[in-house]
């Protein structure tokens, strides 16, 4: 739901970086999105297209790289990788898992022309 704010955050950072590097146009943006970041990727892609209009990143390609979600299992004490937030622990089938990271939303790099 807040993908529009995220796209605006991306715009501020990349336009600034392009200016500092004397790059008139941004052609590709790579972002890393953690599984637990709560980002709806389709909504972000849509918001990105809209928000970049009129900026040096208009028409740029948005590449989203998935980062795995890790969680600490309170039943067996292991840090495990899980696909979905409510998945049981793959080690012990416990259901009380606390995410450890995996909520990152980072801009990795830009391709500029």
């Amino acid at each position: 739901m807040h993908e529009m704010s995220l796209a605006e955050g991306i715009r501020g950072i990349i336009v600034d970086a392009a200016r500092r590097n004397n790059a008139p146009r941004i052609t590709r943006v790579r972002v890393e999105i953690g599984r637990f970041a709560g980002v709806e990727k389709e909504a972000l892609a849509f918001a990105f297209d809209v928000v970049m209009r009129g900026s040096p990143a208009e028409g740029a390609e948005l590449v989203m790289i998935d980062l795995p979600g890790q969680a600490l299992c309170f039943d067996c004490g292991e840090v495990v990788e899980i696909e979905n937030r409510l998945d049981p622990c793959p080690a012990c089938a416990g259901t009380r898992l606390m995410p450890q990271g995996g909520d990152d939303m980072r801009i990795k790099d830009l391709e500029v022309a």
Partner: protein, 226 residues
């Protein structure tokens, strides 16, 4: 001929918000102020609970930042208790961000050792992602919402330190299982503290006030030790 090249960024998308949040946190710590961020769905009873909290805190210096898309209704309700309140209308925005809260804090010019209550926009999704510089997010979940809300919206309940299971006076009329509410909260956040409250009858409010007072004391001790 233009040549394409790669620029490394490695910056968090919310880094701007996080910088404002860090500035808010420093400003709060400098004056030994305890700030809490109240998050919930619309209609969980946040404002009623807050009014009750303010009345029972008596002489404790405090102020409220009210976030809603529209209207100043909630700030008016808070001011009716005698407390200072500032309304932030987010317009189309679905959450408060750290920049808005920083502005509101400047207007409020809080006294040292105050409590600052930030009532976020009623929304179980977006406010989970935005750090405002608060000590803790407090999730309010009313018994009329359904036991599975923590499972449907896990991010918010994972981000919260405390859940106030509110409107428990209504539980006998709603066919709800309070233990199941608690089990589902602990499933998405095994370390969450749960306090059962009723803003209407006052049940559980003392325990909630106790938590607030302990945290405020801890803030003053940290400040004094510096």
């Amino acid at each position: 001929m233009s040549q394409s090249r790669l620029i490394e960024i490695e910056t968090g998308i919310l880094s701007k918000n996080d910088r404002y949040a860090a500035a808010n946190r420093t400003a709060l710590a400098d004056r030994g102020i305890l700030a809490v961020n109240l998050v919930s769905s619309p209609g969980s009873g946040k404002t009623t609970l807050l009014c009750r909290t303010i009345e029972m805190l008596g002489n404790q210096p405090l102020a409220v930042i009210e976030g809603d898309q529209q209207t100043a209704n909630d700030a008016d309700r808070i001011r009716a208790t005698g407390a200072r309140a500032i309304q932030v209308n987010t317009g189309k925005g679905c959450h408060l961000d750290a920049h808005m809260v920083g502005h509101a804090m400047e207007h409020l010019d809080l006294a040292p050792a105050s409590m600052l209550f930030i009532e976020n926009v009623g929304n179980l999704v977006c406010p989970a992602s935005f750090d405002l510089g608060e000590e803790a997010k407090i999730a309010i979940l009313s018994v009329t919402e359904g036991e599975d809300k923590p499972l449907k919206y896990p991010d918010m309940f994972t981000a919260a330190k405390i859940a106030l299971l509110n409107k428990i006076d209504l539980a006998p009329h709603c066919d709800v299982d309070l233990d199941l509410y608690e089990a589902n909260l602990r499933r998405v956040n095994p370390t969450i503290e749960i306090i059962r409250t009723s803003a209407r009858t006052g049940e559980g409010i003392e325990a909630w006030l106790g938590w607030l007072r302990d945290r405020l004391d801890a803030r003053s001790r940290t400040k004094a030790a510096e």
